[in-house]
């Protein structure tokens, strides 16, 4: 089912985000606190390092290997300090019908496009819907779709709704594009009579702005099928602060909200003590803007 993580703020060593906390993203491979599935189908990240060559271009790392065993990832994490990050651990149903491959890893980021995006969730009836979505995807974007996931199509729908996907977009324009993507999916669901609960939690980042959604189509609608697993609204949490590090025996940011310069968004908190984390509300988006040196964070109701 996946777990993911986004970060925007003062540069932080990737190891401190991905490995160090007691419920870090990598630990969520097997020990997620808010999900009962294992996440074994690979790992991907896009990390913007201001000290790197062409800092607007992120480090990209993708591997179908189970992330906890990946030495190259760990070595990379010890070297890269990122001021922006999207990372994703892929979790899939346990059967041979699933395609485990490099093309199906998140975050998606087409060449020449600043925006990267990861998805946690699952569109019911996607096989029936897929090619009807083409109506809402620009041809030059459609030809770049390489994998078999619904997630990549959500990315393609979002890019198609941006005025110029190759240029940096304002965060509210990114949110508008993501909302258009959701509207397209809603239309095609309606056309096919798909009424099954389908989660679309997204984290999108271009190195300067971060937008995260927490949304489900037809939440709680399962027809008369027995519920499988949780009936909870798929989680998306965030925290803010400064000086991310090991404080009072815990990995967290401190300094008070008024002095905060960084935001972490994740499928679930990175620590077992969740006192400084809070949920993105259901059917909502969190938009983190740059306002010169400072950032602002806004919650926006999503109605699709």
């Amino acid at each position: 089912m996946c777990r993911m993580l986004g970060y925007l703020g003062a540069p932080v060593l990737l190891e401190d985000l991905l490995y160090a906390p007691d419920s870090s993203l990598l630990k969520q491979t097997t020990d997620a606190q808010m999900l009962t599935m294992l996440n074994l189908a690979g790992f991907g990240l896009a990390a913007w390092d201001p000290g790197s060559f062409v800092p607007e271009e992120p480090h990209i790392y993708r591997s179908t290997q189970v992330a906890v065993f990946d030495r190259n990832l760990h070595a990379l994490a010890r070297k890269v300090r990122a001021g922006a990050l999207v990372a994703h651990l892929r979790g899939v149903p346990y059967h041979a019908g699933v395609q485990i491959n490099e093309q199906n890893l998140h975050p998606f980021r087409f060449d020449g496009v600043p925006l990267a995006m990861a998805h946690n969730g699952d569109l019911a009836g996607f096989r029936d819907m897929r090619y009807d979505l083409l109506e809402f995807v620009k041809p030059e974007i459609a030809r770049r779709i390489q994998g078999s996931t619904d997630s990549e199509w959500l990315y393609a729908l979002t890019l198609s709704a941006l005025e110029d996907p190759t240029a940096e977009a304002r965060p509210d324009a990114i949110l508008t594009a993501m909302t258009s993507a959701l509207s397209a999916v809603r239309k095609v669901r309606d056309r096919h009579g798909i009424k099954q609960s389908s989660s679309v939690n997204l984290i999108a980042c271009d190195g300067r702005n971060l937008v995260a959604t927490r949304f489900t189509f037809d939440f709680g609608c399962y027809g008369d099928k027995a519920l499988q697993g949780s009936a909870d609204f798929l989680s998306q949490w965030y925290t803010l602060g400064r000086n991310y590090g090991h404080h009072d025996g815990e990995w967290k940011m401190t300094g008070g909200a008024a002095n905060a310069d960084s935001v972490i968004v994740a499928s679930e908190p990175l620590t077992r003590d969740i006192a400084t984390w809070v949920e993105v509300p259901e059917y909502s988006a969190l938009v983190v803007h740059h306002a010169g040196e400072r950032k602002t964070a806004q919650l926006v109701a999503l109605d699709v």
């Binding site: 059917y283 602002t296 964070a297 919650l299």
Partner: protein
């Protein structure tokens, strides 16, 4: 109950004198009767705290609540940014830590003595034992706990409402004139639907059938109004499919606080305390609901002991979940306000 050998008291003798002195403040404890009271007095533990001393820390695993015998305790919560904000002050005669009593979850806030304070600890296990022995006074005590938690929920909603600085982008319009209708033609038996929901797993199959008999199955289209803020607490609803939204009414729309999915019980606070609905409740999705009258809820809560305990557990967990969510909503609003103010 077999006689236990006499035990050394767990605190200094003067605390036992204190608790008897303070029993006048706790008529509900006196109603437990002499045997239960003696049992509590023997097994409860006492804490004495100097000013500033910690009673419990936010996030700690908890297994009971405290009755403040004398003095006062300050409650504070951490919010995003790691600020600590003051929540309330609890004085003699009041309960503190009662949320964990309802759901066994971690402490939702930090409690510190504001002055020299004495507190009696009552464990969750102890109260559950008393309830299983069909002790009506134990039920009465837990009823009081629920009432206090319901009052805390209202206070939190009021605190959220009082925050005038919030993003209007988070408000939602209530569009619809959609209505609720009696459910026709259910694909599956209601009792089977109830049994399939993890949140209602405290109910046996027989309990599920009893519940299905005492409720009316209704459908609500997305946007339908279930209850408006200020309405009388005539019903509560159990979500079988779909979801209900609980929102605080603002001038320009509703501020969503709760989204209740399958297995959740909605509208508990007003049904418990009898006061009007604090929130507007509407269908967030096309929903299938069980509607129960307030009277039937009260009857079911007091009926056969094992069903009453199962219903009680489920209701308690829901109430605690709602209060924790409201607390986090307030913390989120406070954190974002500080974050954004500093940027301007």
């Amino acid at each position: 109950m077999a006689r236990k050998p006499a035990r050394k008291s767990e605190g200094p003798k003067r605390d036992e004198i204190h608790i008897d002195d303070f029993l006048d403040n706790f008529p509900l404890l006196r109603r437990l009767g002499p045997q239960a009271l003696a049992d509590l007095r023997r097994t409860a533990s006492y804490r004495t705290l100097g000013p500033g001393e910690l009673l419990f820390r936010q996030g700690e695993i908890a297994n009971g609540m405290f009755l403040i015998l004398h003095g006062a305790v300050e409650i504070a919560a951490r919010i995003p940014g790691d600020d600590e904000v003051a929540v309330s002050r609890i004085g003699a005669g009041d309960l503190v830590g009662e949320l964990s009593m309802l759901d066994g979850g971690g402490r939702s806030a930090t409690a510190r003595a504001a002055e020299p304070t004495g507190a009696m600890f009552i464990s969750r296990a102890r109260i559950r034992n008393l309830m299983s022995d069909a002790g009506p006074a134990a039920f009465a005590l837990m009823g009081r706990v629920r009432g206090q938690v319901a009052a805390r929920a209202r206070a939190t909603y009021a605190a959220i409402f009082d925050r005038q600085a919030f993003d209007s982008t988070i408000l939602r319009r209530s569009a619809s004139r959609a209505r609720i209708a009696k459910a026709r033609q259910l694909p599956v038996e209601v009792a089977a639907l109830i049994s399939g929901l993890a949140r209602l797993s405290a109910l046996t199959a027989a309990d599920a059938r009893a519940l299905a008999r005492s409720c009316e199955a209704v459908t609500a289209a997305k946007g339908a109004l279930i209850a408006d803020a200020g309405d009388n607490p005539d019903h509560l609803h159990i979500v079988l499919r779909g979801a209900l939204r609980g929102a605080l009414k603002r001038r320009r729309g509703g501020e969503q606080i709760h989204v209740h999915g399958p297995g959740e019980i909605v509208g508990l606070v007003p049904v418990i305390d009898g006061f009007p609905h604090p929130l507007r409740i509407e269908a967030a999705e096309d929903s299938l609901l069980l509607r129960m009258t307030r009277r039937d809820f009260e009857t079911m809560s007091k009926g056969r002991t094992d069903l009453a305990i199962a219903v009680f557990d489920t209701v308690s967990r829901q109430l605690a979940r709602d209060v924790r969510r409201a607390n986090r909503h307030l913390g989120r609003a406070q954190g974002l306000a500080r974050f954004n103010e500093a940027a301007n």
